[in-house]
Amino acid sequence: MNTLIAIIGLGVLCLLFEIFNFTKAIVPITIVGLLAVLGLTISEYNSTESYYNNMIVVSKFSTTFSSLFIVLTIFLVGLSHNFYEKHQSKISDYIAIKIFLLAGSVAMVSFGNLAMFFLGIEVLSIALYVLAASDRLNLKSNEAGMKYFLMGSFASGIILFGICMIYGAMGSFDVSDISAMSQSAELPIWFPIGIVLVTIGMLFKIAAVPFHFWAPDVYEGSPTMTTALMSTLAKVVAMATLYKLLSVMNADISESFKIVVVVISMASMTIGNIMALRQNNVKRMLAFSGISHAGFMLMTLLSLSTSAGSLLYYASAYALAGIAAFSVIIYVCKNRDNEDIVNFHGLGKNNPLLAAVLTASLLSMAGIPIFAGFFAKLVLFSQTIESGYLVLVIVAVVNSIISVGYYFKLILAMYTKEPNEEKKATPFVIYAVAVVAIVLNIALGLFPSLVLDLLP
């Protein structure tokens, strides 16, 4: 709760800064603020409470995930400093929006009431619409915004309908009541419908097949900064929320529903990876890889009771790798009109450090050992086999083989091609973010227990 308030306060503060135009100081101060909030959140780790008659429930789950989100936001804010050099004047807006977005995501993982959940998801989405379209004069950005907006609001319509159905069945928005009642013998047919509709809405947010079509286009069109945010923060948030929805309302997932999850996750991995193979635009490629990762994360829904920890781990591994990768992309594609692989040629010579970071993050996504990505996949496989879906694991393995194909396309481009432009200066911030993110990732790889044991 305090986290949420603090974050919103920080957001308001950002807006105020512009009035007193402290735009220079805004990024550092925000980061400091976020660090403070992070501390606050961590301090709440062990205190399970609920506020405003269950509007918000602070639990281990919410605190851990909120901390992850905050960390990610810190990185993103750090990157923004350099990214928005062009329009310094508006920087506070961008920052503020990110902060509010963070607020929305925290609300989403700590809701105790469907209303809170709905508000959270809307805050997140609206902020994203704005950010996606934030490059006003660029048609691509507009298109991305429009697409995301239309489909997003369509999805929220579905979600709303689902919530309504649940309410109709249960006569309450309070998840604890709902879960209590969902135990009872016969439930009105509306309840499962509601669950399904809400789930589908969330599947859209995490861009799972067949609700993924928006992702590549929007990722490509939006400003790289936003893409980074979507592919790391937004995706993780949506996934965590979906997980929480299904587990908290303990809508005991029927076998047929599990089949649906299995199919969707297989489809997401496969289509995501295969489509990624022939992409030339790196952002687009990462969009598809994000789709496949969504498919991987969906595996956690098959063992709801036990897999919170592994979801957290996978999320952090994936998000950190993503942050590292995107910070390099931001560096490389600065004042370029596109993000094609061509721009990465010879990075290994021009800027060995960043090339190494990008390589590492890609290896992590591909699941090569010692990077966190490997253990993320490992625990996932382990749990999925435990719950008896060996086939799904086999498909996942085949997919990670395919994925190596396109991750290495990029690595090869960096190391075997000749550079097509002279080395350009690297702002310290990008170095810092990239290195810290990848170091965190490797640290997670070396000591997985740090995160794995946080949640049951």
Partner: protein, 628 residues
């Protein structure tokens, strides 16, 4: 004491090898030659010591050095076995070896790589000794393959000529085919008796109780025999030996006449107890030997290269020895090995001296009338030829006659084949003599100018060998044979073998002698009386063309084995490999293609996206309700 001496015996040539390898060039040609010769003569001296000791004590000397290879059901230790057989072999290996080294000092003097020549020669002697004195099959195998290596090096000694290299390669590979057989034999022996040690095996066989294993034993025997075929140039693995004449003549004399090629006979004699209980394999050996003897002899009839003639005669003589082995008369085979070693070495060295005199000329059609020019060579070679033709009182007479005798007692057809072969031997040997030494010189003018008797370093070995070729027969006279009783410990059944000389024996001797005379006579008639000279290659026709081309065996082998393998290899390389890797790449290609097609789905139209959304939604919902 014995151990050190044995080590000295073994390592003296090896030391010579090392010295020649590392310092040979700086030492100069003669010195390195002398060192090589000394090294071998040291071993010869040691051998003499052991010989005296053994013939006195009749006790085999066992020497264990260290554990070598560990197998689950037995272990092979590196040790020596110095008994009558091995010492006998050592005698002529080192003896003739030192003579030939001596000969080579002068013979190879004009070559620029003398030191490596002697190095190889010493290495060969080293491995040959290992082969002979190894206390078990595996140590013997070291020598067995080692001599193969040296023969490879020496045949290809003039490695600038790729044909010679091919010959060397051929020799090595054909030997290897045999070696595989030998290995298989060793495996079976090890599997059956949990040891490879000769003495241990012998005791096992003598104690008996192996009747149930006879089938496997005969398989083993056959495998070992294949090994012997490879080393001792028997059908079908003989073709390398004639090509091996590419090497310098001393090499042909030492390796491809006197010592290495007799390794097969040595091995079989070593394992006689094993072969004795496998009559069918023995039959095979006998037949193969007889056939080889005849086959090679026929080819020898028409060859014009002086060394080729000798080579085929070697093959045919080896055939006779195998005949004897097959008939269980190991001592006879050994006897012939020894005599053959003398006269064949003598012949090769003689031919070498001729070739040396003619400046490398080997074709007998361009020789003739050398009798006056090089008397010593002529006399010595004549003696040797008489010996090999089985003219009485020369060593060859006794040994060959014994073989025919045995053959007659066992199996008349084999005896016939053997006799025919020996008649042919007499013929082509004297054909060689006549063409080389009689009538007038047919070579070029400047060759005629340079004609000269070879220097003493070359002639002395010739003389020594000639003497042995003459008197060598004494070691095993019919009736009272020193050799037989010397070998009794190795070949137990000699003890109760009776040596009576009946009329049949004398009759057979007579036949043999007459046969020899007939052969010589024919040669005389053809090449002295009619004074005919073999026609040029083109003019050769009819069956003699077939003979001249060695029954086209090389071509046949080439067609049915070598070519197919190469074709197969090219096929694998160009087709199979590429298609395999194309298959692997195929997966990648397919997925890429799918991806390429998939891109078309992503049309960018919001309508389509929403449509997919709704379809998905409906699908899921309806599925869930159908499922319930």
């Amino acid at each position: 004491m014995n151990t050190n001496l044995a080590l000295l015996l073994l390592l003296a040539p090896f030391l010579g090898f090392l010295i020649n390898v590392f310092f040979g060039k700086s030492l100069g040609k003669t010195v390195s030659g002398i060192i090589g010769t000394l090294a071998v003569s040291v071993s010869f001296a040691v051998t003499l010591y052991f010989f005296s000791q053994i013939s006195a004590s009749k006790q085999a000397i066992q020497i264990q050095l260290f554990d070598w290879i560990q197998i689950s059901n037995f272990k092979v230790d590196f040790g020596f076995l110095l008994d009558q057989l091995s010492v006998l072999w050592l005698l002529f290996v080192t003896g003739i070896g030192s003579l030939i080294h001596l000969y080579s000092i002068r013979y190879m003097h004009d070559d620029e790589k003398v030191h490596s020549f002697f190095a190889y020669l010493n290495l060969f002697v080293f491995f040959m000794i290992t082969l002979v004195i190894g206390s078990n099959l595996l140590v013997m195998f070291i020598g067995w393959e080692g001599v193969g290596l040296c023969s490879y090096l020496l045949i290809g000694f003039w490695y600038k000529n790729q044909d010679f290299n091919d010959a060397a390669k051929k020799a090595f590979i054909m030997n290897r085919i045999g070696d595989l057989g030998l290995l298989v034999g060793i495996f079976i022996v090890g599997m059956l008796f949990n040891t490879l040690d000769f003495t241990a095996l012998k005791t096992i066989f003598l104690t008996g109780g192996i009747e149930d294993k006879v089938t496997m034993i005969s398989v083993a025997a056959f495998a070992l025999f294949i090994g012997a075929c490879g080393k001792s140039a028997q059908i079908p693995l003989y073709t390398w030996l004639p090509d091996a004449m590419a090497g310098p003549t001393p090499v042909s004399a030492l390796i491809h006449a006197a010592t290495m090629v007799t390794a097969g006979i040595f091995m079989i004699t070593r394992m006689n107890f094993l072969f004795d209980i496998t009559p069918d394999v023995q039959a095979i050996i006998a037949v193969v030997g007889a056939v080889t003897a005849l086959f090679a002899a026929t080819i020898g009839l028409v060859q014009n290269d002086i060394k080729k003639v000798l080579a085929y005669s070697t093959v045919s003589q080896l055939g006779l020895m195998f005949l004897a082995l097959g008939l269980g008369a190991y001592e006879v085979a050994v006897f012939h090995v020894i005599t053959h070693a003398f006269f064949k070495a003598c012949l090769f060295l003689g031919s070498g001296s001729v070739i040396h005199a003619l400046g490398g000329e080997q074709d007998m059609r361009n020789m003739g009338g050398l009798k006056k020019a090089m008397p010593i060579t002529f006399v010595t070679m004549l003696i040797a030829s008489l010996a090999i033709s089985g003219v009485p009182l020369f060593s060859g007479f006794f040994s060959k006659d014994e073989i025919l005798l045995v053959a007659f007692h066992h199996n008349i057809p084999l005896w016939v084949i053997g006799s025919v072969a020996s008649i042919m031997t007499a013929f082509y040997m004297f054909r060689l003599m006549f063409l080389t030494f009689f009538k007038e010189f047919r070579g070029t003018v400047e060759q005629k100018h340079h004609l000269h008797e070879s220097p003493s370093l070359i002639t002395i070995p010739l003389i020594v060998l000639a003497i042995f070729a003459t008197v060598g027969g004494l070691i095993s006279l019919p009736g009272n044979s020193w050799l037989n009783e010397y070998l009794t410990p190795i070949l137990p059944k000699l003890a109760n073998a009776e040596h009576h000389l009946g009329n049949t024996e004398y009759m057979l001797m007579a036949i043999a002698v007459i046969g020899g005379i007939v052969g010589i006579g024919l040669a005389y008639a053809k090449y002295i009386k009619q004074n005919s000279v073999p026609s040029t290659d083109a003019a050769i026709t009819g069956f003699s063309k077939v003979l001249y081309n060695k029954y086209y065996i090389d071509e046949i082998y080439d067609a049915i084995i070598v070519k197919p393998i190469n074709v197969l290899s090219v096929f694998f390389r160009d087709k199979v490999e590429t298609s395999l890797s194309a298959l692997v790449f195929g997966f990648g290609k397919v997925t890429n293609e799918i991806s390429y097609q998939g891109k078309k789905l992503q049309t960018g139209s919001i309508g389509l996206y929403l449509f997919a959304f709704v379809i998905g939604l409906c699908a899921i919902v309806s599925y869930l309700f159908l499922a319930q």
